[in-house]
Amino acid sequence: MADAQKLEHLLGIEDLEVSSIRRLLDRGKKFKSDLEKGKKKFIHLRERTVVNLFFEPSSRTRSSFEMAAKRLDADNINFMADSSTSVVKGETLIDTAKILEAMSPDFLVLRHGSAGAPQLLSKKLEIPVINAGDGFHEHPSQALLDALTIETTKGSIEGLKVAIIGDIAHSRVARSNIYLLNKMGATVTVCGPPTLLPPHVGRLKVRETYSVQEAIEDADVVMILRIQFERQNTKQIPSNAEYYRLYGLNNNTARQLKGGAIIMHPGPMNRGVEISPQVADGSNSVILNQVTNGVAIRMAILACLEEDRNRGRV
């Protein structure tokens, strides 16, 4: 492990080496199994403070990071900057982060609407920055928890066929998953209306298709993405109804899945827009497992960053 990548921040999956992904997943598995045994307190982050700085509304990611920090015995504060006064008053991202840093936290978990915000802060701050989603760029903890979910249900990622269906253009989850799944040896197909597939996405080593049938016919894993009403301008799909008809995972299309295929969704779901309620709650769905695994993987991220930080201090 002497030459292993040192984790200073977690900014995205693209820059992670396979060995680092493996390490985070293995650590996540360990936490998951301990949590399942009923253990609720760990000491990895005792006397540490984790700040969640969220510039976008978020319930699950923020509470998942908060839960992870608390399970590890860290102190945790939430700074919701989506409508907070200092931000409304014009304070810049760097100023807000520096103010928080002046209170001596040990980790910063950042959610921001602009791609590259975590990169910017990682250059300005002394503490590890964890990207909890930046614009359309990356959402690394989501891809890691998805990978943990796939491994615990399918055994291994290598050789699997994964279809990602929906608004790829405006999805940080899609990008992080494409990088991770490619690195771990899966074959990825992205599917959606042409207006929601980003130009040049094929050059990220994925297969592109506009047909859901084609995307899912031999898929082992189907990831359904949320149609992000709040992100896209309205000229990209004619209506939700047409989208559901052509690209939604409804009961009919779900029937074409091969046996043992699993269905994932990063949430929050629009039932009846990208996925039917029956499919979302059906036996193939691992959507709630994803949420459970989220806490374990975020514990793994915090624990590994803490470990490498201490390694740097020696």
């Binding site: 602009s114 791609a115 910017l120 359309f136 760029h137 990008r175 980003p198 130009p199």
Partner: protein, 447 residues
């Protein structure tokens, strides 16, 4: 036109240099005698010594450096009117002089709109007081640059604007653009078009391509530029008008321009060093110093631009000098202001193309001086060449000297340049405007 430099300057003999004057096909060792702010004589080395002694001319030994007509910028920005803190006029002018520019055409909406003759006159008077280089204002094409109504173009032309255009805003209304091209025909100035369709640009912040896909940033497609280039070529052709394209950045635009020129359409076009020196690959770390508009493009576009500089499709290289304050740049990429300071890095960046043998040194001088002079009619005043009787606007430069471009060196008020900290090759040794030395590089910088 206002004379920037007042009074009669002393006579000077520039000895031992190598003159490049594309308009007259001169590319040879020559001495120049300057008298009364003008070029008095040009001759073979040594031939002017007697004449110079008679005039008691100050002898300046050029020591083998190149002498060329001073550079002329078609795409500059200054903090007047409005005393914009991003670029004080005197500092900006000093920066231009340090880059070898002796004349700069200033865009009309950097701080306050230059959309009427009072503002034009104000800029000219401020420049007269504070600027060490000649300043030629560009007038706003529409009132307040809103793209709704034509500004008083005729009155502004009579007060001194050399071109009209809405700066870095595209005229989205095709009817208005047509009328603008028609109307300006009466005044013998070109319409400056900034070809970036606002609807296709949308909220884009970088080139649409693999990099925008990877970085999760909204892309600006090449089509945003090309549809307007196609439109404005068509409008210019039908109106028999004259139009200049600012800041061409894509391969497709160049193909349209090349074809239109071969058909005799009265268009000219410029690019900026950003678009042949940098690519969108450099944005990988979200460094906002690389944020430009039009955006930095990919290798294929860079290659096409380099070719077009050599084959005559492009007429000029302009700086697109865009000073920004640190607070406008120290933001997430999509919120950061676009543009970079550019006067002082133009020469070394263009010389890079000369070193790669993509353009000749003579072609370089054409693109930086003679070409832009023709675009805005300054050749009629003798600018852009060094024939006898022309204003003594001169740049003297060295092509080999290497130095680190540090922020201490920067003359501009602003420091937003991705080249700071980089090693550059080629430096301006002296800039002369109207026979007076306005900038003197030591030429002794650390290598």
């Amino acid at each position: 036109m206002k004379r920037v430099v007042q009074g009669t300057s002393s006579s000077k003999l520039l000895k031992g240099g190598h003159l490049i004057d594309p308009l007259h096909g001169r590319n040879e060792p020559s001495d120049l005698l300057l008298e009364d702010g003008k070029v008095f004589a040009v001759a073979k080395p040594g031939e002017l010594d007697t004449k110079a002694s008679r005039l008691k001319a100050e002898k300046i030994d050029i020591k083998g450096a190149y002498i060329a007509p001073g550079f002329i910028d078609l795409n500059a920005r200054m903090g007047e009117p409005g005393a914009d803190p991003r670029e004080a006029l005197n500092r900006g002018a000093k920066s231009a002089a340090a880059g070898g520019f002796t004349s700069i055409a200033c865009m009309p909406s950097f701080s306050e709109y230059n959309d009427n003759a009072f503002v034009t006159d104000f800029i000219s008077r401020q420049a007269h007081e504070e600027s060490c280089v000649r300043v030629f204002p560009i007038g706003s094409l529409t009132t307040k640059g809103k793209g709704e109504y034509l500004a008083e173009i005729g009155t502004m032309v009579h007060t001194g604007v050399v071109a009209v255009g809405d700066d870095s805003t595209c005229i989205k209304n095709s009817y208005l653009m047509r009328k603008a091209i028609e109307y300006t025909k009466a005044f013998n100035v070109p319409v400056f078009s900034f070809p970036q369709d606002p609807a296709l640009v949308g909220r884009g912040v970088m080139d649409e391509g693999l990099n925008s896909c990877r970085l999760g940033l909204r892309g600006i497609p090449a089509a945003a530029e090309e549809v307007i280039v196609a439109r404005d070529i068509t409008l210019t052709q039908h109106a028999c008008g004259r139009l200049h394209f600012s800041s061409i950045s894509t391969k497709g635009s160049l193909e349209l321009i090349r074809t239109a020129k071969s058909e005799g359409v009265q268009i000219t076009a410029e690019t900026n060093p950003q678009y042949f020196s940098l690519t969108s690959d450099m944005i990988r770390t979200y460094d906002s110093n690389f944020k430009c508009f039009p955006p930095l493009r990919g290798e294929d576009h860079v290659e096409a631009i380099t070719t077009a500089l050599g084959d005559g499709t492009l007429d000029a290289i302009a700086s697109m000098h865009m000073p920004q304050s640190p607070s406008a740049k120290d933001l997430v990429f999509e919120d950061a202001a676009a543009g970079m300071i550019a006067f002082e890095t133009v020469l070394p960046l263009v010389l890079e193309l000369v070193r790669k043998e993509r353009i000749s040194l003579e072609r370089m001088v054409y693109l930086l001086s003679t070409g832009p002079a023709k675009v805005i009619g300054l050749h009629e005043k003798g600018l852009g060449s060094l024939k006898v009787g022309a204003p003594a606007d001169i740049v003297i430069f060295d092509t080999d000297k290497q130095y680190k471009y540090t922020s201490d060196r920067v003359c501009s008020s602003a420091k937003n340049s991705p080249f700071i900290g980089k090693t550059l090759q080629g430096v301006v040794l002296m800039t002369i405007v109207g026979g007076e030395i306005v900038n003197k590089g030591t030429g002794n910088d650390e290598s």
